[in-house]
């Protein structure tokens, strides 16, 4: 979570700005604080100089006359100011007057003023030494420094917040939204990025437009590929169908039929169910072909095919086996395999007249030979062969009927 936050652009931006502001504030604060201390000391010294200049005349006279009363008056007056803690007035002729706390004249912060002879100003006659009130200076420096630094800090803080807010609202917020939206968009989908209304003409707008162009290009490419795939699949399906189906009747052709029968028998073996293989040969088909032509023959075959499909169940297999021969595999349903009933149904369907044209109806029938799996064998070829023999048995014995192979029956 933390790593995620750390890696996010808004956080990084904000953090960098804040860090910069803190460093800048720190450096400026130290500079300002040092400057403040210097200024306070300078101000204090200036005030002391001004104070001294107001009593300079009296101090000079005191030093001139070695008048300690006047000197004390001067030094005590100076010491009363809160910026001064100690004053010493000395005359060159030996007077020493000190007011306030004693101090070392060699200290760095001691202020020194020369006193001139009041009547001969080019002649020095004494000195005043003043010790400034360090506590007062420190307190003032601290107070002023604190005010400056807190103003600076507040200032930096406000600007930092403002900049972060600006960057966030103008830039990174949109980038974050765009990144998240883009992340969710699947390649090839119709979804597009939305451009924030105020950024249509800037870099964000450009980014959105270019990204959308890329998305469109990707979508088009994928779409084209999908169409191509669909087309090739359709083509393949059609080819396979053409290979498997008899073009006239749309039934399975012989080759595909053999495969279908093999599969059905495997399934029957696994499910321990029974199947019937029925070979149908149309009666009286050749005369129709001869008399009414191939179109009529074709029409008859199509009609018969449709009737067979209609009569049988969906999972039964209907194959165009040869010219006017059909092979059927009937699977056992929930109940017993009722091959005879089915055969009769088929015969009934075949018996219905066929309209060859407006005036001509043809009546055909069929001969059905039947073999049973697994009763008569398990091999498809063998079973078909048995059905074929049974069918010929019907043909010979008068047509339009069915015959179930009987083992041991020498046909």
């Amino acid at each position: 979570m933390l790593t995620k936050l750390w890696r996010s652009l808004p956080f990084q931006t904000g953090f960098s700005i804040a860090l910069g502001a803190v460093l800048l504030t720190l450096i400026l604060s130290i500079t300002v604080y040092n400057w403040t201390i210097k200024k306070v000391v300078r101000d204090s010294n200036l005030r002391i100089s001004q104070l001294v200049s107001t009593v300079e005349r009296s101090a000079s006279i005191a030093a001139y006359l070695d008048n300690s009363e006047l000197a004390l008056d001067v030094t005590q007056g100076l010491v009363k100011n809160d910026i001064v803690t100690g004053v010493s007035l000395r005359s060159d002729s030996g007077m020493r007057i000190i007011s306030g706390s004693p101090f070392n004249f060699n200290d760095d912060n001691i202020l020194h003023f020369s006193l001139a002879n009041p009547f001969m100003t080019d002649e020095k006659i004494g000195d005043i030494f003043i010790k400034p009130n360090q506590n007062n200076i420190d307190a003032q420096a601290t107070q002023m420094g604190f005010i400056f630094v807190s103003m600076l800090t507040t200032h930096s803080l406000i600007i930092t917040i403002f900049v972060i807010f600006l960057v966030q609202s103008r830039l990174t917020r949109h980038l974050t939204v765009l990144a998240k939206t883009l992340h969710k968009i699947e390649p090839g989908s119709v979804e597009r990025l939305q451009c924030p209304p105020l950024h249509r003409n800037d870099e964000i707008g450009l980014l959105v437009r270019d990204t959308n162009q890329l998305l469109t290009a990707v979508q088009n490419t994928l779409e084209g590929e999908r169409r191509l795939r669909e087309y090739s699949e359709t083509l393949e399906k059609q080819t396979r169908k053409e290979a498997e189906r008899d073009p006239l009747t749309n039934l399975l052709n012989r080759r595909a039929g053999e495969r279908a029968i093999a599969r059905a028998l495997q399934k029957a073996e696994a499910g321990k169910t029974r199947c019937a293989i029925m070979l149908i040969d149309l009666d009286k088909f050749k005369p129709i072909n001869d008399t009414y032509g191939h179109d009529a023959g074709d029409h008859t075959l199509v009609t018969i095919s449709n009737r067979l499909i209609k009569t049988l169940r969906k999972n039964d297999i209907v194959i165009r086996w040869g010219g006017d021969e059909f092979l059927i595999l009937v699977q056992q349903g929930h109940g017993d395999l009722q091959e005879s009933v089915i055969a009769d149904k088929i015969l009934a369907a075949l018996a219905v007249n066929i309209d060859l044209n407006e005036n001509t109806k043809a009546s055909i029938g069929g001969s059905i030979g039947i073999s049973l799996y697994p009763d008569h064998g398990t091999d498809a070829t063998h079973l078909i062969d048995l059905a074929d023999k049974a069918m010929y048995h019907i043909k010979r014995s008068g047509r339009n009927g069915h015959f179930i192979h009987t083992p041991g029956d020498s046909v």
Partner: protein
């Protein structure tokens, strides 16, 4: 010797400034004090040093506050007006150690006081100079 000195001085002063009336500082003719330089004179009159070099305390005489000679004396000696000098003494009054010169009404009385007092010292307009006193300094 002294007379000759005095004559020479007199001659010099007469020759030097017949129009510009200088101020002379005088003592009793019997006083053997050496001539005063300006510093000695300032220290004497501004109260820093109240004694002659021989240890005798000097009796300092001032002229009337309104007098021209007093104005000239202080103007030339310390570059201050009579009022400024008065302010100086006033400032020192509260210390209890103010010792301003004694004020004498006019030059005649100054001359008289000096003739009568061995330790007196005063100043007069040069043209009012008389016998019985000795000039120890010229202030101009």
């Amino acid at each position: 010797m002294i007379k000759r000195q005095r004559l020479i001085l007199l001659l010099i002063t007469l020759l030097a400034s017949p129009l510009q009336a200088g101020v002379v500082v005088i003592v009793n003719a019997e006083n053997t004090v050496n001539d005063f330089n300006q510093r000695q004179l300032v220290d004497l009159y501004m109260g820093r040093d109240l004694y002659f070099p021989n240890g005798q305390m000097a009796l300092r005489l001032d002229q009337s506050p309104d007098s021209k000679v007093r104005k000239n004396f202080y103007a030339n000696l310390v570059g201050k007006t009579v009022a400024q000098v008065n302010a100086y003494w006033a400032r020192l009054l509260f210390t209890g150690r103010a010792s301003p010169p004694q004020v004498i009404r006019n030059s005649k009385d100054v001359l008289k006081a000096i003739r009568n007092n061995f330790n007196a010292v005063g100043y007069i307009d040069e043209k009012d100079l008389e016998d019985g006193v000795r000039v120890i300094a010229h202030v101009d």
